[in-house]
Structures are given as C-alpha cells and as structure tokens.
Symmetry: C3
Subunit: 378 residues, 3 copies
Amino acid sequence: MAQTWGNFLFSLLDYKTEKFVIAKNKKVGVLFRLFQLGVIGYLIGWVFLWKKGYQETEEVIQSSVITKLKGVDFTNSSQSGLQLWGAEDYVIPPQGDRVFFIVTNYVVTPNQKLGYCPEVRDRLLFYFVIPNTNYTGRCINDTGTCEIHAWCPVEHGQTPSEPMLAKAENFTIYVKNFIKFPKFAFSKSNVLPTTNSTYLKMCRYDKDHHPYCPIFLVGDVINWTGYSFQDLATKGGSIGVGIEWNCDLDKDESQCNPEYSFTRLDSVKNSQNSAISGYNFRFARYYNDVAGQTYRNLFKVYGIRFDILVNGKAGRFSIIPTVISIGSGLALMGAGVFVCDMILLYMMSKSSFYRETKFEAVTKRQSADHLAGRALQC
Amino acid sequence: MAQTWGNFLFSLLDYKTEKFVIAKNKKVGVLFRLFQLGVIGYLIGWVFLWKKGYQETEEVIQSSVITKLKGVDFTNSSQSGLQLWGAEDYVIPPQGDRVFFIVTNYVVTPNQKLGYCPEVRDRLLFYFVIPNTNYTGRCINDTGTCEIHAWCPVEHGQTPSEPMLAKAENFTIYVKNFIKFPKFAFSKSNVLPTTNSTYLKMCRYDKDHHPYCPIFLVGDVINWTGYSFQDLATKGGSIGVGIEWNCDLDKDESQCNPEYSFTRLDSVKNSQNSAISGYNFRFARYYNDVAGQTYRNLFKVYGIRFDILVNGKAGRFSIIPTVISIGSGLALMGAGVFVCDMILLYMMSKSSFYRETKFEAVTKRQSADHLAGRALQC
Amino acid sequence: MAQTWGNFLFSLLDYKTEKFVIAKNKKVGVLFRLFQLGVIGYLIGWVFLWKKGYQETEEVIQSSVITKLKGVDFTNSSQSGLQLWGAEDYVIPPQGDRVFFIVTNYVVTPNQKLGYCPEVRDRLLFYFVIPNTNYTGRCINDTGTCEIHAWCPVEHGQTPSEPMLAKAENFTIYVKNFIKFPKFAFSKSNVLPTTNSTYLKMCRYDKDHHPYCPIFLVGDVINWTGYSFQDLATKGGSIGVGIEWNCDLDKDESQCNPEYSFTRLDSVKNSQNSAISGYNFRFARYYNDVAGQTYRNLFKVYGIRFDILVNGKAGRFSIIPTVISIGSGLALMGAGVFVCDMILLYMMSKSSFYRETKFEAVTKRQSADHLAGRALQC
C-alpha cells in the first residue's frame, strides 16, 4: 500500500502535456495566429502600455485646500457712500476655504429698522419679493402695494447694471492644495518644493509658461472658462477650478504634478434656463443706535463663487492586476481556440475527417491499442 | 538551414487542435454540461445583464453644490423682543454652501459686558457651564456659586421647550448640484435642462410626482427621515440629504438623473446615547456703546444642519472589463474540467480504464506507433 | 434527419476529456508542480488571505463631520485691552464644520476709519503691504512713505512673537463623524453606540488607552504631528486629522472602527520654502459711531486650521471578484503549461521525440488507425 502511494506521488512528478492534433489547414491556422497576435497586441499595446493594466490604481484622493485673495477696490454709491473693499470684506467666508465667494456687485439697503412699510413688487426676479407671510392687511396708496411688517425700508430690486467692484478682475487667488493617496501613502502639494519664495510672489498661472504657479488672476480664470468678467460680475456666477493629479508612482515623484482646468458651473450649455445661472445672497450687519434699538445694513451681494474641485488617480505596479490582465488575455485565447475548433470541425470540407481525429472514442482507441499490442505479439 | 527555418515558420501556420478522448459517460457529461450552462448563465445573466460587467465604472464624482433658502419668521421673546428672521439671519453661513444650518430655536443673552458675575451651574447639560478657568475665588451668597470673570450676565441654561421659529417647517431649500465624472468627461446638473423657470418657481420635490424638482420643503425633508419637525427643532439635529447619480452612459444622457434620499445623521438607531444627538452652537454680535466700551449679544442657536451628500457611479462599455469578465468565466470553466476529470478518473467504476486512455505514456505510444509502422510493413 | 439531430444532441452529453501525453521527465515535472504550488500559494495566501480578493470593495465613503470646541482664554494687549475668547470667538466659522480654524495669535487694529494716512512698508512679510492701488500721490515726511486712501490707521506688521492665546493648547475638539458606504448600505458613527455619556464627558483621545474617544486635546493633536504648539501657534499652521474606516463587512459591525492620524499639512518636509507654511487671515467687525460714521476693528488672526479628512474602504464577499481572482490564477497556470511545454519540446535532449508524440499529424495518425484496422484483419 505504502509502495502504491509512493508510486502515485512519484508519478505526480511526471510532466503531463496535452496531446495535439496537427490539422494541416492553413486557413484556420492563419486565422488562429492572427487571433493570437491580436490578443498579444491588445495585451501589450492597450492593456499594458496604454491603460497601464499592471498597476493597482487609487482614485480616491484626500485633499486639503487653502485659498488666499489679494487686491482692493473702491466703490461709490449713493446709498452707502465711498467704500473700500479689502479681502476681509469681499471674500466670504474670509478664512480661505476650498469654496469661496468674491463680491463683484452689490445692493446695500442701509439703516433698516423693524417696522411697517409698503411692499415692493417685482415680477422679473424670482427671489426678490419677501414671501408674503407678514402682511398687515393695509394698503398703501402711494405705491399701490400692501403694507408689511418687515425691516424697513424694504430692499429695492434694482441691481446695478455694471459690476461695482470692477477691479475684482485683477484680484489674485493663491491656492494651496495638499493631497494624499492613502493607499500608497503618497502626499504632495501643488506648491512644488522646488518653487522658491520670490517666484511665488511674482508669478501668475499660465498653462503654457507657468503651469505650476499657484497664483491665479480672477479675470484670467473667468476668461479660461470661455466667458468674460462682464458676463459673470453683474449677476454673479459659479466657477469650478479643477485640480487634477494624475500620478504614475512607478515614475519619479517629480513627474506627479497638478493640472488645472476651469469650468463655469452655473450655466449648462444649450439650456435656455436663466433660473439656474447667476449667484447672489444676502447678509446683514447689525448695529445698535444710542437708544439701544437695533438697525442693520442689508447687503445683497452678487459675485463669483469659486469651487476648487480636486480629483486624481494614482497607479503603482502590483502583482494582482498584472495577473488579472494577463490571465484574462490568456483565457480569451481559449475562446479563440474554441472558435477555430468550431470552424475546423464543422465548417470545413474535411470536417468529419478532423472530427474523427480530434475526438478519440474511448472504446475504439482502447481496442486499437489492444490490437496494436496483439500486432506486437504476432 | 534557411530551408529548415522556412519549414518551421510554415509549420507554425498549421492549426494545432487538442486531442480529446470521448468518454461515453453520461453522468460526468451531464454534470459538465450543467456546469457549463451555470457558468454561461452566470456570465450572461449576473455579470453582463445585472452587474454590467462589460462596463468600466467610475465611482469618484466631482460635485459642486449651491443652496438657497427662502422664508421668513417672527419671534418674540422677553429678552430680545420682536425679531424678524430672514434667510440672511437663520441660514448660517449665509452664502449657500453644501453644508448649512437653519436656526429653529435660540437663547439670546443680550448686552453682555466683560466683568465679574456669579457662575451658573447646570448639571443636566454637558456643554453648558463655562469651563472653570477664570474663577476669581469669591463666593456669591445669592446664587450659591462662585464668582467668575466673564461676559456678564452669564447665559442661563434654559432652552425654550418649543421651537421659536415654528414656521421654519415651511422654509424652502433650493439645491443646485453640478456633477462631473472626470474619467468620462460627463457633466450634468440636477436642475435638468428641460425644466422651465415657471416650474422651478412653483414645484416642491416629491418622490412620486416631482422627482426632479430641486426645491424641498424643510418639514417634508424632516418627515422623510422618519422624524417630525418637533423632534428636531427644539434641540437641533443633523440631516443628510443624499443625491445619488447612477448613470449608465451607454444609454442616453437623459436617463442619468439624480435620486434623493434623506437620513437623520445625529441619531444612531438602537443607541441610548443622547450625547450624540442634537445640534447647537453659539455666536456673538459685537457692538460698541457711546463710551466706546464693547458689549455683545450672545446667541446660542439650535437648529437643523443639512449636509448635502452627493455620490454616484457611472459606467460605460470598455474592452478591458469585458475581456476580464469573459476571460475569468472561461478560466472558471477550466476549473469545471478539472473537477469533472477528477470524478471521471478517480471516482467511476471504469476509472482506471479512462485513465489509461486519457494519459498516454510517451514510450508506450511511441512503440505502438512503431509497431503500427511495422504492421504496415508486414 | 430527426434521428441525426437526436444523435448529435445525445452525443453532446458524452464527456470529452483532453488527451494527455505523460512525458516521464522529472525535471519539467518538478518545475511544473513548483509553478502550480506557486500559483496556488499566491492565490490562497496573497490574493485571498492577505488582499481579500474574494471581496467587492468600495473606496468611496460618504461622510458628514460635526465639530465642537470647548475652552476659554483671556488676552491682554495694549491695543484692545483685556479680551475674553470663548469658542464663539476663536472658532471660525463658529458652526462646527469639517474644516475649522482656531485663533491662537492676532493683531488687532482698532477704530479704523476710511481716510488718508501714510503707508506702512514691510519688506519681510509677503502679504502685508496693502497693494498700491490707492495712492494719493503725496509723500509723508515723518514716515518716509507715500500717503494712501485706506482704513486708517493702517495695520502695523508686527505679529506678537508669542501666541496670545497660550491656553489654546488645552482646548478640546469634539469630532462627530457619520459615515456611509452607499454600495453596501452600511453606516456608522465614530461615537460608538457602546460609548456612554459619562465617558464622553471625561475621556481624551489616546491611541493606546482611548482609541475610540472622539475628544481631542489641541496640544496633543499638534504633538502627534511631530511639531509643538509653539511651532504652530505664533505664525499659524494647518493640520490634517485623518479618520480612516477600514471595514471588513464579512466580520461583525463592531469590528469596523475608525483610526485617527495626524499630519501637518502646510509644511512639506525637505522644503526650504517658508512661503507655504503658516496660516492667517483678516476679518473686520464694523461699528457705527453716534454720528453714523462707520469704523471697524480689523483683526489679523493667526491660528491652526484643522481639516478633518475622512477616508475609508469597505469590502464584502462577492462572487464576481472571487471568480476573477480564481479565474486569472487558473489562466496563469495555462501560462505555466506553455512555458513547461516550450522547455520540454525545444530545450531537452529528447525534445524531438516528445514533439513527435505530442503533435499527431492528422494524415499520419489517420493512416496509422487504418493500418491498425488492417492489422486487425490480417
């Protein structure tokens, strides 16, 4: 028994190789070779060289964005007089987040007090009229509207037709983006370590000449979206600044650099729907007068909302995707074998002949072997 | 030599096909056919039709969200008198971000000045008592507490038991969501291009009747999470509004539409832990009096924090996943062959017979061929 | 005809097994068995046990973060006198977002009014000087600088060399993180359901002793990044708090717990570039004096920006990745067969002998069979 097992285990070390039948059929032969070449070409050319199928990829990127704006502008309006706008005023919120808003136009309604005053009607603008939840029931003859209980005087609906902060076009945006691919424990910043401080003070991003300068001119960014500052500044708008990190971690770290792109987000092409474009909101500054009564300045600000959208992909050689890529290619070759066999066995003039050779009935061959053995004896 | 190579290359164009032994064993035959049908069914049904295994997918979505609230409410309290709350007041921050907070309840401590006053103790609420870093060391008999150096008077800890802004239930939230799948360069907005402005002014989201209306009633959103406005409004809460983009880019763009879902985030089911539910924070409005001294109104606001959570998946036909899906299925068939072979060769009554036929020892066959050759001669 | 088809379909149920040639070559046999063992080891050890290749994974995580800070500090400066900083003042924005900023140092320029005053020059700091867009053209002898139209007096550029809010080191950060893996409909909070309220009031996060306590001491967090509070507090800095959810959903839900990590984001190692470290911004509080004229207090705040970065991966058994993993491994075995065949057929001394046995020319065998048939007859 032990010997039998020994023999069996020993026989496991014999190499067994499949037996092939050579069908001297050049048509199917050429077809199969072409198919093999196709699979090999697909594997090497498309999967490995073009799609980097030997790499494990990570498409989730951890990103932290800090922004800082620079520039000042003066405005002069009949309501609020001369005003100086610094970054602490026109950037909302001021702390430099990934998403920020720059005031380019505004309507200020100064010295509002809580009280009773006539409603202002406006049929053109959607969000303008204060929703009618606080009517007193009285009608004001002068304006032909109802009296409401509200912050008075009520905001009038006329947006300046020109952006009040015309110099906003020249404001600069400094974007610091720190990214990390957690799977590969790889991190980098868009302010490249090779960049020196002097360059950072002077440079302006430009796709061709300064692709790694992290300082952007507001006007340039708008132009690169295909719109002009005038288009967006009056009624506001929303701009996406894409930062794309496409990193091949098999190469040197210095090859992994950000690429910037610029899109207008609030205007879907081919859409006639004006309700989805523009950007504005209101905020109020509250004061107390000497008597302790609260009054406020209401600002309706129009402007440009910037949304820094970071995305990325990193790839690094890994054995599993390599095996899957190669293995699936090889398995596909098996499909080629199946097709060629079908053609050979059922679509050729000599098909029945090939079939007989390829498939050996157990009984028949066995007897043939026995006969061969007998022939040996004879 | 050249001729030898020529012959070799020419012979490469011969088609070689594997030789099969037909084992006339219906049991294993049926088993193998069933396994083949299973694999084919799995490939076509599960992998291709159900899981769309022929598609390359992208699960990373670039998203930009803008929100806008509408509605007003009046509050009346003994501390602060009559107050009118517009979106500029109850939405924090007011600029319309992806994450925003609506005030539904508040405690105001008006006219606080920096000075000395007795501490307020509260054993029930966690975050209430000002941490004891600024004790003066004196004890106030009237209150039985220590004197502290703080903004006086100190905030009392009694939250109104009913939400002060009861009309917040009727506020509307307008959500603009712009998404992009960077891999496929596909972008879309939840405000569909087919939506007209009039519809946008009137509609309210409803899963059944207005699934693509981007305007939500606060009260509805809360109800859809399985809670009531009263549950959340008094002590605050946190709600996640999911927007899911599940796009098959092999179909028409118009088939790629957002689906909304609503979850309460601050209350984990089956948890008795009240410390993790509720939502509030404090902010202050600073004033200077005539003498130039600073005083402030401290607001402790309770309310509902909305977090718009966008996720999505896009798929489009691609050759690599198709090859991997098919290839791995075919390779699996190889595993079926192995199993069936094992059964045939070791678990059947005629196994030894099949083994002899399947495996041809080189020496034996070779001699048999020679014998056959000899038989030819004889 | 019907019978022919019947026979054909019936013959489909015959099991066909490949015919193998046993090459009694132990060298290639051992090589092939070693390769097989390698593939099986790779499949079981690496793909299945280590990489969990039988799981479908989701790397996109939906996350909602709420933060809350606690602690107070007093500051005393010649400009602004005694000031008390509560969370409502030093946390910007105050509503408890994923990204927040703690003031640790500041320069206040009180009682600025719009007017004319001499410029302040500073050659050392990048962002200090107000950009020269509003010169009046006059020169002030006393300071040797030009007159500008600005908020006067202009901010001087001296940052306190010690952090004004030295107690910020002891502030606590309470982080609530709710996550969801949409593909698996799995959600969890970092405030574990088993945590009781008392523990939540007392605990401080510590990797070894309190790994699931969601309350962090500011000073600890900074130390864990490898820097000290003094390093960051004076000029500001940016810290990333990573929350990693690595969940094997085949195990119990209680095994899926967050892991925290801490990194300084504004200081790339090995970089001499000081322009990218530090963090500050300005904001203003506006007041009206009795005459109705606006004045403001300008704060330039330095501090620590915390960015809670959530990432995660969830895996659950799924048939498709299992099939792909197994299938690609099996297909790889096919590659091993190819290599061993090549060695056997072209690199062994008896190669030509093996080739003759492995490949059976159709014509030759067919005739041999006929001969065998004839031999039977003779």
